[in-house]
């Protein structure tokens, strides 16, 4: 629990006075009340989903569920390779087609 509290404080800050975290369970009618004094926090899950927190309680609940304010960046190797291949394609095209053009100009 202490570890959880640390995580909550790291992501959501210290609990406002008079508010403490309790598990709302699976109550479908439970509504997170907005706290206008709370500075909004963005949390991320392991799949890269994003959620904006409007109250400390809401934030604590999400952190307990495994969300965090640290974005876990998926290493997008396929995108990097695509950029790499695109760069090569552009350079080689410029070289190749300018050479062809030169040949035609010579002729």
């Amino acid at each position: 629990m202490e570890q959880n509290l640390n995580n909550i404080e790291n992501s959501c800050g210290v609990a406002p006075e008079g508010i403490s975290y309790f598990d709302p369970g699976n109550d479908p009618n439970f509504v997170f009340v907005n706290d206008p004094n709370f500075i909004k926090v963005t949390l991320y899950d392991s799949e890269g989903n994003v959620a904006i927190m409007n109250s400390w309680f809401e934030c604590a609940h999400y952190v307990n569920g495994g969300w965090s304010n640290a974005q876990i960046l998926n290493y997008q190797g396929d995108r990097i390779m695509f950029l790499f291949a695109s760069l090569f394609a552009v350079i080689s095209s410029i070289y190749y087609f300018s050479n062809i053009r030169k040949k035609y100009v010579k002729k």
Binding site: Y75, Q76, M81, F82, F84, A85, F88, A89, S92
Partner: protein
């Protein structure tokens, strides 16, 4: 001087591109390489994709019980890095991440740059068509969709959806586009000289890591498009191929069997669907046109060709032995040369069904070495080349390579063909050609009679079909031993009818049933020899009874497949359709059983008509008069050896056969 410098720079660039991914690391990071032992396994498991191959190797340089394995399914961030360590028996298996897409880019660049080391030709420049820049990427990118079952297991980025957000396919497409540009630049001035470097296809195998694609197929496909552009589609070769394609496509029913490619990955259809069938029909059509283009535009320099053969053969021996001695060289060989499987880790002749990694089969490696020696002897004897002392160590290395392949057939045929080369010119002056042929026939018949006398005729004539029956799915409720006893009993009693038609109706393959029918004809024509005893005796003499027996038991084509085959490089039906029960030890049951005859391979791919077409081309070639007729012996040597090996399944062996034919017509003995 300038040329040497640019060559050196190019070689340096190639090796830098090759080494860098395995070297790159941050010396100041938290993850240090440690000695690989039982304690450090956990450390390596928890620091995956952080420690490079170079770091681990340098820390464990003296360790002999470490084996490095390539792991294709890793992401780019893990390329060249350790992705895990396991202990199997006394050996630590260190997995190295080698993402297939990135490997493809690197290998494509490295091998294309190597081609630029080829000397420019003095012949007229050609203007390669730019159509290939679009057609080749489309065709070969589509393979990833058409053979998705293969690719899905090879690459974590694999995505078969056609969309602009699919970076996986876009990367493959763009890489192929860049490759086509490089090859067009290359073809312009080096095309006619390219053929002289075919020997190097045996060291640079060219199979892309984690892909069912071979570099030379790509290269020849580009030439194929050029052939179609320069000479049109209207050639006899294309017309015949079109007829075959018609039957391959319209006789096809989608069948979802899957062949992982195993040791013939790179030139085999892994899927059994109409779409993948069409892909391979197009690719092989381009390949045939590519060979035609290469033939039309090439000039062979015998001196250079022999030199390249000797260098290539020696380098295979050298790198093979280095790989057996060093685990690091072993894994780098796999990556650099595009091997289908990692090389042997011992100095034994054959291990793991591969020959030092440089050849998927010891047989094709043996054929290659014997071919080099035969080629050297022919050219030396006919004074096409002069003996140089520098050749001697390379000839010794090649001979050692041949010895290590344990290829008895290649060695014996090398000796016989060499004797023929030496004796033929002397005999020709004394005896007529007809008498020589008559002599060969008399010797063959006498040898046949001797064999028949030595062994029992009944044994010789039935052994192959008996062996095939042992592998058929007969008596499914009995054990293998009980099955063996019953089959032996029926064969000894000469009652195959009960065995096939009463006890086991419909359980034999169509090939086996047909051969049984031929061996027991209803009408016996006197003096006409039955083909089955000849086939069976040949199989016994060249130690192919078991392998050909398995082929007969497994291959069960319908009528169209018998006549036109299953399609180019389509082995799925052969491997999976017929239910069999191999009479082999338990440990061998999961092995890949290829037919062990290129003739059988040809029958599977193109049927009996395909064999007829091939025979027609071969006979036409052998009977036509060329300036360098004596060099035909090279083709005959390969054709004889191909009869008992699967060399038709290997790109480099196919290229060697092509070269052996081309050399008769295109060769000159002087340097350019």
């Amino acid at each position: 001087m300038l040329k040497n410098r640019s060559t050196a720079l190019l070689v340096l660039l190639i090796f830098s591109i090759f080494i860098f991914p395995f070297y790159r690391h941050d010396s100041n990071d938290l993850y240090e390489a440690v000695e690989v032992d039982e304690i450090s396994i956990g450390y390596y498991q928890s620091t995956t994709c952080n420690i490079s191959l170079y770091e681990v190797y340098s820390k464990n340089i003296r360790s002999k019980n470490i084996q490095y394995n390539a792991h294709n399914y890793a992401g780019l961030e893990c390329f060249g890095k350790i992705t895990g360590v396991d202990k199997v028996a006394d050996t630590f298996i260190v997995s190295i991440g080698t993402n297939s897409s990135f490997s493809f880019i690197i290998q494509l660049i490295i091998w294309s740059l190597f081609l630029f080391l080829i000397k420019k030709s003095n012949r007229k420049k050609i203007n390669p068509t730019n159509l290939s820049l679009l057609i080749i990427p489309i065709i070969f990118t589509s393979q990833h969709i058409l053979e998705k079952r293969f690719y899905a297991a090879q690459n974590k980025y694999f995505d078969p959806d056609i969309s602009f957000g699919n970076y996986y396919l876009l990367t493959i497409f763009l890489s192929l586009y860049v490759f086509c540009i490089l090859i067009n630049i290359l073809l312009e001035e080096r095309l006619s000289n390219l053929i002289n470097y075919i020997p190097f296809t045996f060291i640079f195998i060219g199979t892309f890591n984690g892909l069912n694609l071979n570099f030379y197929i790509l290269l020849l496909s580009i030439m194929g498009i050029n052939n179609l552009k320069f000479y049109g589609f209207n050639t006899l070769l294309n017309k015949i191929y079109l007829v075959f394609s018609f039957f391959w496509i319209f006789s096809r029913n989608d069948n979802y069997t899957f062949f992982d490619g195993d040791k013939i990955r790179g030139m085999v259809n892994t899927s059994n669907t109409l779409s993948s069938q069409m892909y391979w029909i197009i690719v092989i059509a381009l390949l045939l046109n590519g060979l035609s283009f290469l033939y039309a535009k090439s000039s062979i320099n015998i001196t250079l060709l022999i030199k390249n053969f000797l260098i290539s053969g020696s380098l295979i021996v050298l790198f093979g032995l280095l790989g057996a001695n060093s685990n690091l060289v072993n894994i780098l060989n796999l990556y650099m040369f595009g091997q289908n499987k990692t090389g042997m880790r011992s100095f034994d002749s054959i291990a793991g069904n591969t020959w030092r990694g440089f050849s998927a089969s010891a047989e094709s490696a043996g054929e290659f070495y014997a071919f080099i020696l035969l080629f050297y002897i022919v050219c030396l004897f006919y004074k096409k080349i002069n003996f140089r002392y520098l050749d001697l160590p390379m000839l010794l290395a090649v001979s050692f390579g041949l010895y290590k392949t344990n290829n008895f057939a290649a060695t014996i045929s090398l000796i016989i063909f060499s004797i023929l080369i030496i004796l033929y010119p002397k005999l020709r002056n004394i005896v007529s050609v007809k008498s020589i042929f008559l002599g060969i026939i008399i010797v063959t018949v006498s040898f046949g009679l001797f064999i028949v006398n030595k062994y029992n005729y009944s044994y010789l004539s039935k052994e192959l079909l008996y062996e095939a029956s042992q592998h058929a799915n007969f008596y499914p409720n009995l054990t293998n031993y009980e099955k063996y006893l019953l089959i032996t009993e029926y064969f000894d009693a000469g009652d195959v009818n009960t065995l096939f038609n009463i006890d086991n109706p419909g359980r034999a393959s169509s090939t086996l049933s047909r051969l049984i029918d031929i061996s027991t004809p209803n009408v016996n024509i006197p003096l006409l020899p039955n083909s089955i005893p000849i086939l069976s005796t040949t199989a016994i003499l060249i130690n192919r009874t078991e392998m050909w027996g398995i082929f007969i038991a497994k291959y069960s084509p319908n009528l169209v497949e018998t006549l036109f085959g299953n399609g180019p490089y389509q082995l799925n039906n052969y491997l999976y359709v017929q239910e069999i029960r191999l009479d082999l030890p338990e440990s061998k049951l999961s092995s890949l059983f290829l037919p062990h005859s290129s003739l059988a391979d040809l029958i599977i791919f193109s049927g009996l008509f395909g064999v007829l077409v091939f025979l027609y081309i071969s006979i036409k070639f052998l009977t036509k008069n060329y300036q360098n007729n004596y060099l035909k012996i090279l083709s005959v040597f390969l054709l004889v050896n191909f009869l008992k090996s699967d060399s038709l399944l290997y790109t480099n062996s196919v290229l060697l056969l092509f070269l052996s034919g081309a050399v008769v017509k295109l060769s000159t003995s002087s340097d350019d």
